[in-house]
């Protein structure tokens, strides 16, 4: 049983290696993620950010611009995840007694 699991794990690894072999070599500016427009003609997000972040948001740090503005909703979600973790830990570990503040 254990052997089968190991084999499955290994097979998964081989599958991933096969998958990565189809990935474009990293680092080339013409990779799909770096393109100005995708093959369907829609604008490429990353190139847009690099070109326009300063103009549109007055923020030189593109990561911050994306994080808080272009994809600000993701960050709201992310902050909520953290808040959620806080509440969940609160739920799991604390118990309010009658009259206590915490």
């Amino acid at each position: 049983m254990k052997l089968i699991s190991y084999i499955l794990l290994l097979a998964f690894g081989i599958l991933l290696i096969f998958a990565t072999s189809e990935l474009p070599s990293r680092g080339h500016p013409e990779n799909p993620i770096n393109r100005d427009t995708s093959i369907a003609g829609t604008p490429g997000a990353a190139a847009h950010y690099i070109r326009n972040a300063e103009k549109e948001t007055a923020t030189p740090n593109m990561v911050t611009a994306i994080l808080a503005d272009y994809r600000g909703y993701d960050t709201l979600g992310e902050t909520t995840v953290i808040f959620c973790a806080g509440i969940v830990v609160f739920l799991i570990l604390r118990k309010q007694k009658d009259g206590s503040k915490i």
Binding site: F18, T42, G44, I87, V88
Partner: protein, 496 residues
């Protein structure tokens, strides 16, 4: 017009509710519940209004931060997502009405964070449904998952272990999803669903997106508890507090099923997943096995909640089967079953909550006629939901099976037809066992609370239970309107 903001109002009202109710609750405990209920009501109201709005005016795109989609995140409310988000918030709102008394009895002293977590849970699920961005989906998936672990963890003694195992498997699922998304992103350069849908058919190299789709499906399948990946579900549902499972079972896995529909048919195209590569066939066959497996395991259980959990595995199989058939009838069956199963499971778990509230038992051999005498309406609700699970007209369960059978016949796949029929009979076995106990068995081993003279559960618990039971019949009788006016509008392009 303020109403155009409705897609964002749904998750944000829930999020704000959580953010406000928890701190306020620490300060004044009694305020938590009204705030939570109000937030949930706002979400419910805007989901229902949103569904009407979408049906009248067509798909609604909402650009968050006013950035056009591939640049920013968009919310897309089409008939399907409006429908599913209404299911989520409808169930959420009524279970929240229910939860007040039940929580006070089962996990006293934890109501404040519990309600906040529930709001976050609903917000996460709503966000998953209405989003049009694959990464945003991941973020909300995590919010929903974290809250789901928490909902499980506060149950009985063994609950934290179940929650922990759920967490591990859920994290593996989310990681797989993220990894698959990474591959997809590297190949198409976009995170937006509709944008990806435009790019994918133009790609020349297909190997990469096949693997990315596989990884994403495995990830979502884990969250959805699709057949071989359902291992976390029985423990989680049966050890969770009754309100926890009443939230989890009806909607959590259904939303994942919705996400699977989205990924398969919106992001990737129907021909791609069903004709060029047989993803849907694999899903359908796994689901068919899951239907039988879940039903058989459910028969073997003596604990009510555990039985329902296994029955969930089999019911999720129905949805998976509908998805996997990849034809319009199957799609209708799957989406209708998302609604029907949400209602049936909500009823059944609320019934469990009622019984547990009065008698503190979940073990089926303990059920007897006294229980029915004390809880007549609860028993009636149970009977209706059970008949629906078996698939007796005019309850809702019959009709989703009807569409699934039609779809299977349409595909000329008789094995699926047999599986659906067989599972109805298996459902019959494990639900009639309880009905017999409730209505016939006379032995009394329950400690009855004679002094209080209180028979039925409090009205705030009874009303949601009965409401869901009535809706099970109502949506059964009027299912054609839902199918014709909502679901048919959502049938993906290219399905024949």
């Amino acid at each position: 017009m303020i109403f155009q903001h409705f897609p964002i109002v749904i998750p944000i009202s829930l999020l704000l509710g959580a953010m406000i109710s928890a701190p306020v609750g620490i300060w004044k405990r009694k305020l938590t519940y009204p705030i939570a209920l109000f937030a949930s009501f706002v979400a419910f109201f805007f989901s229902s209004a949103g569904l009407i709005y979408v049906l009248n005016t067509g798909t609604h795109h909402y650009y968050l931060g006013n950035w056009i989609p591939p640049i920013g995140i968009e919310y897309v409310v089409d008939p399907l997502s409006a429908f599913v988000v209404l299911i989520v918030n409808g169930i959420g709102f009524f279970v929240m009405i229910y939860s007040h008394r039940s929580l006070a009895k089962e996990i006293p002293g934890k109501e404040v964070p519990f309600h906040a977590v529930v709001l976050l849970f609903l917000a996460g699920l709503s966000g998953m449904v209405v989003t049009g961005d694959l990464f945003n989906l991941y973020v909300f998936l995590e919010i929903a998952s974290l809250s789901a672990y928490a909902l499980v963890s506060v149950g009985e003694k063994r609950a934290p272990v179940a929650a922990f195992r759920y967490l591990l498997l859920g994290t593996i699922g989310a990681s797989f999803y993220l990894l698959g998304l990474g591959f997809l992103y590297l190949d198409t350069g976009s995170l937006n669903m509709l944008d990806n849908a435009k790019i994918i058919p133009l790609l020349e190299e297909r190997g990469l997106i096949i693997i990315s789709l596989t990884l994403m499906l495995v990830g979502i399948g884990l969250k959805m508890a699709m057949f071989p990946m359902h291992l976390w579900l029985p423990d989680a549902y049966s050890y969770a507090p009754s309100v926890g499972s009443a939230y989890l079972a009806p909607i959590a896995t259904k939303v994942s099923a919705y996400v699977m529909i989205r990924i398969l048919f919106t992001v990737f195209h129907t021909e791609f997943v069903s004709e060029y590569y047989n993803f849907t066939d694999v899903i359908a066959w796994l689901s068919a096995v899951g239907i039988l497996w879940g039903s058989i395991m459910a028969i073997a259980q003596s604990d009510y909640k555990r039985m329902l959990a296994y029955s969930s595995v089999s019911q999720i199989g129905y949805i998976g089967l509908g998805i996997g058939l990849a034809n319009p009838l199957g799609f209708i069956g799957a989406v209708l079953h998302i609604l029907n199963h949400a209602l049936m499971k909500a009823t059944l778990f609320l019934v469990n909550g009622n019984i547990f509230y009065r008698f503190g038992i979940t073990s089926i051999p303990m059920f007897d006629e006294n229980l029915r005498k004390k809880l007549p309406y609860t028993s009636a609700a149970f009977t209706i939901a059970a008949l629906s699970m078996i698939g007796i007209p005019p309850t809702a369960g019959f009709f989703s099976k009807w569409y699934l059978v039609l779809a299977s016949v349409d595909k000329n796949n008789w094995i699926f037809v047999v599986v659906i029929g067989l599972s109805s009979l298996l459902n019959l076995i494990y639900f009639f066992r309880i009905i017999e106990k409730l209505y016939i068995t006379r032995k009394s081993n329950l400690t009855l609370d004679e002094e209080t003279k209180m028979n039925e559960v409090p009205i705030s618990m009874l009303v949601p239970t009965l409401l869901f039971a009535i809706l099970v019949i109502g949506f059964g009788v009027f299912n054609a309107y839902i199918v014709d006016y909502i679901i048919k509008l959502a049938i993906p392009d290219g399905m024949i």
